[in-house]
Symmetry: C2
Subunit: 193 residues, 2 copies
């Protein structure tokens, strides 16, 4: 691959996932990733601080898209609907590529460092969503409650989806999860108890 | 300190927090922690796999207490009420020791490894709570939805509390957060939109 090609971070991320998949995360070096992408090792470490960051490159795009979806939600949209729409869009993208999601999930499950970084990246994503809600005028704690709850429901829907050999519709699982949660909270005894 | 004293893990955890506080997390070694607790370095690494684990020793107790609170909730308690009672109890304990919480929080905020492990430990705590709910007969996804949501509300209440110089009542902040979330979800447009 020539070095004139565009999107060097995307190329490195693609090469990294291929190598992680075939030879394992721990066995793959930054130099190997760079070589596979047709780049110098020093380019790799200029573009990504470490191997874990290149693995989560796709989540940067997800974060931008989620923040944009919240910013672009019609005026008057309830905070929870804006947050849910952002993650439902992500569900739809994942649903289109179950194979890629399975590969990534398998790598995360096999590596404790990736599991911790995965939690941290999703926490960052929720933080970005809460910030996008605040920029629309949603006060705290509503913004964080809406963003973090939507994220928790997304994670539960994703885990159900990835564990289901049929991979039934993820956007539906996510919406059903939100409805179920609304029902769970409506049935609590509340602060008086 | 003599080596006959009981609770070696608790002693190491106490010594570790003291050293992390006075000289920083990165600057503290397992050998120093062991020495301060009057123990051999090899005892430290037999009892804790690494420095991060000794930092989160207190969360093991929190996990046992939360699981016990859910198991002991009266029959017929709604899953969200059982999960909320478990974390409200934790709120009350934290409220009694704001100084200790501030020290731990400062150390976590200053160290990216501790931040990631903190996320991971709280995810484990929520997983343990969901399991305790399932053992009471709560089906999935209700068990995880109730446990993860209660945990998300707890984290938001804690962040508000720690950032407030007055440290107003954490159990109240937590209960208010749950009420606010119930209201947020009641006002969503729902799956038809």
């Amino acid at each position: 691959m020539g070095r004139w090609e565009p999107n060097p971070r995307g190329r490195l991320a693609k090469a990294a996932i291929e190598l992680f998949t075939t030879q394992g995360f721990d066995q793959t070096t930054g130099a190997q990733i760079a070589a596979r992408a047709g780049m110098h090792e020093r380019s790799f470490f200029r573009l990504f601080p470490d191997k874990r960051e290149v693995f989560f490159h796709a989540l940067e795009t997800a974060q931008r898209e989620a923040v944009a979806a919240i910013a672009d939600a019609p005026e008057g949209t309830a905070p929870i609907d804006a947050a849910a729409a952002a993650l439902e869009q992500r569900c739809a993208i994942i649903q289109q590529h179950p194979g890629a999601a399975l590969i990534r999930h398998g790598l995360i499950e096999a590596n404790v460092e990736l599991r911790e970084r995965d939690l941290s990246k999703h926490a960052e994503l929720a933080t970005g969503m809460a910030e996008a809600l605040r920029e629309r005028g949603t006060p705290e704690p509503t913004a964080r409650l809406a963003a973090d709850t939507a994220m928790a429901v997304f994670r539960i829907a994703f885990d159900r989806w990835i564990g289901d050999p049929e991979h039934q519709d993820l956007p539906t699982l996510f919406r059903d999860g939100l409805s179920e949660l609304a029902s769970i909270l409506a049935h609590r005894r509340g602060p008086s108890g």
